[in-house]
Amino acid sequence: MDYFIQIVTDLLPGLDGLPVWLVIPSIMFMFGALIFTGISIYSLIILWFERKIAAHMQDRLGPMEVGGWHGWLQTVADAVKLLLKEDIIPAVADRKLFKLAPYIVFLAAFSVFAVLPFSDKIVGSELNIGIFYILAVSSIGVVGILMAGWASNNKWALFGSMRSVAQLVSYEIPIGLSILVVVMSVGSLSMRDIVMAQDGGIFNWMIWQNAPFNFIAFLILFIAGTAETNRVPFDIPEAESELVAGFHVEYSGMRFSIFFLAEYANMLAVGIIASTLFLGGWQGITGASSAPGIGLIWMLLKGFLIVLVMIWFRWTLPRLRVDQLMYVCWKVLVPISFINMVGAGIWIGLSS
């Protein structure tokens, strides 16, 4: 944030004359707008990417018309269409909750980005409990989903939100336990410290430390992260063939697209968290580079890579059933991550 404040004050020298209580919030607002724009642009790109990948996996071409080259403008056109669509609120819906729900879901996805270190300097806030903050904030989304399902006054939406709440609450436990392994290895909750601990090239990345415990922790984090973002094979809250569209079945137009944006923001967040914790964060394969912007490129590359694997999952795998989903969490992932955490602790204790 300090770095960002410095840039802004350099660009706008007049800011110095203003009182501090006005300058800091306005800069925060700017940073927020920047991230919001970034997420929107990223969503448009990744959506187009997903559609093309899906199409080629399925022996078809995907969007080819809009914008000329391989339909690259298709998602932009779709976004414009969603913005212009009529926003329907069902007559029997609880209007206040119905309107509020998408913003809470998006807020949860969005505020995670405040502490994600995109590079050495580009970070919203260097909290000393960054990873803890992420765990706490991302749970708020559940409330929004429950609100959406309940306020829609639709039985399918209610089913979807019930499933979603059960799923999200359950899968936070393996995520927390696997993050704990990293926290134990580094000895800090700060995202920056965690990245700094992985300095010096690909073999110093957290994923290879404390073999094999950190690697298992990475896999668990990734699987549970896929579940947290409601992606296939864990997409039962919006299971199309069962619940039509799940908790957002009654949403249309812009409100629907905010849910959509939140899902894709969550995917990127999972990708960036996983690569910060385990894949060296903003550091390249050969170590951190001093050139500006290189860190950001590495970070986004790693984040995209993980998002791509999630996309690959989606177009390959069928969907689990509700009870199987809970089984995977409580009887497979939670015990494994517990044992993994204890093992990592013993390993760290013995090797130090």
Partner: protein, 373 residues
């Protein structure tokens, strides 16, 4: 803590629900995710087929038969014209029989491909659906080449077929068979033996053989329950007794007999057998003959009634025709296999999860056009 009051919830599944394969409406009573009671409502696609038949002459009914089971129009035509031919005692040229068998079996493959794809879609696998449709497209190309239509053919006529096979059909058909048989392995790799797919479908919605027979379930669904019954072999019609093929009966290899996975996999194996039949029929195809030589100008029936049943991709398709001697049937009753198969779900589906109900519905492969008629 005060006692929480809970009550069962009635949910309308359909007619616009994506898993009901058309316009079926299931009124389900649920306790949480568990389905307590299923009440199927049909008739959204009712087009008075049987009533229409009372004012149309025998030739004119063929396009209506197409539209009953629109995914297996050739099989429907075949069943219907054989019923009329039984009424008329028509002797067919052998080439006609061969062409009809080729078309019926190709259509059986096409229909099963839709069944597999949409079943995968119900379970959440999107990609196999596109793969099966890619292959089905090639069959539709063959049909288009022959009859000019891709879905509703009006091709098999009473006493013959509408057109002879076009030039190059036999080669293209052989080409398709050679292309298609290796694809079955692709489906196995992609879907059939996928761990999640097996977890979702094996041991789910089991129909025991006795129950299957009780409800009059026929076709692949019956054979998936382990009952060795196929009209093409047990009551041979047309020229099915000339070919060397096996009736596929499920062995419950990943779950138990009669579960959703068996119903799915019987269809995969049946496609292989159908491809074999097509191959043999193409090899034995008699050389040029007039395929319309036996087509009657005007259908002159005797007074009386006839029942004929044939093996449709969905089961036993029966036609019961009462004739008063004119060229218009006095009454025509269609025994629809999908209707009988569907009727079992209220019995089988009780106590399943909603997701399992979707798996059951997808695996019995219903076509609403045929249920509602």
């Amino acid at each position: 803590m005060p006692d929480l009051k809970t009550e069962e919830m009635v949910v309308q599944m359909g007619p616009q629900h994506p898993a009901t394969h058309g316009v079926l409406r299931l009124e389900i009573t649920t306790d949480g995710e568990i389905v307590k009671k299923i009440d199927p409502h049909i008739g959204y696609l009712h087009r008075c087929f049987e009533k229409h038949c009372e004012v149309l002459n025998y030739h004119q009914i063929i396009p209506f038969v197409d539209r009953c089971d629109y995914l297996a129009a050739m099989n429907n035509e075949h069943g219907y014209v054989m019923a009329v031919e039984k009424l008329l005692d028509i002797e067919l040229p052998p080439r006609v029989e061969y062409i009809r068998v080729i078309m019926s079996e190709l259509n059986r493959i096409a229909s099963h491909l839709v069944a597999l794809g949409t079943f995968g879609l119900d379970i959440g696998a999107i990609t196999p659906f596109l793969f099966t449709f890619r292959d089905r497209e090639k069959i539709l190309d063959l049909f288009e080449m022959t009859s000019g239509a891709r879905l509703l053919y009006n091709y098999i006529w009473i006493g013959g077929v509408a057109f002879d096979l076009p030039n190059g059909f036999v080669e293209k058909c052989f080409e398709f068979i050679d292309y298609f048989l290796p694809k079955l392995k692709e489906y196995d790799d992609l879907l059939s033996y996928n761990k999640i797919f097996i977890a979702r479908t094996a041991k789910v919605a089991i129909i025991p053989p006795a129950v299957a027979i009780e409800w009059g379930i026929t076709g692949p669904n019956l054979r998936a329950s382990g009952v060795d019954w196929d009209l093409r072999r047990d009551e041979p019609y047309s020229i099915y007794d000339k070919f060397d093929w096996d009736v596929i009966v499920a062995d419950g290899r990943v779950g138990v007999l009669g579960d959703s996975w068996s119903r799915y996999y019987v269809r995969v194996l049946e496609m292989e057998q159908s491809a074999n039949i097509v191959k043999q029929a193409l090899e034995g195809l008699p050389s040029d003959e007039n395929v319309k030589s036996a087509v009657p100008r005007k259908v002159k029936t005797k007074e009386g009634s006839v029942f004929f049943r044939s093996e449709n991709p969905r089961g036993e398709l029966g036609f019961y025709i009462i004739s008063d001697g004119s060229d218009i049937p006095h009454r025509l009753k269609m025994r629809s296999p999908a209707f009988c198969n569907l009727s079992a779900i209220s019995d089988i589906g009780e106590g399943l999860l909603i997701s399992d109900l979707v798996a059951l519905l997808g695996s019995i492969d219903i076509v609403l056009g045929e249920i509602d008629r």
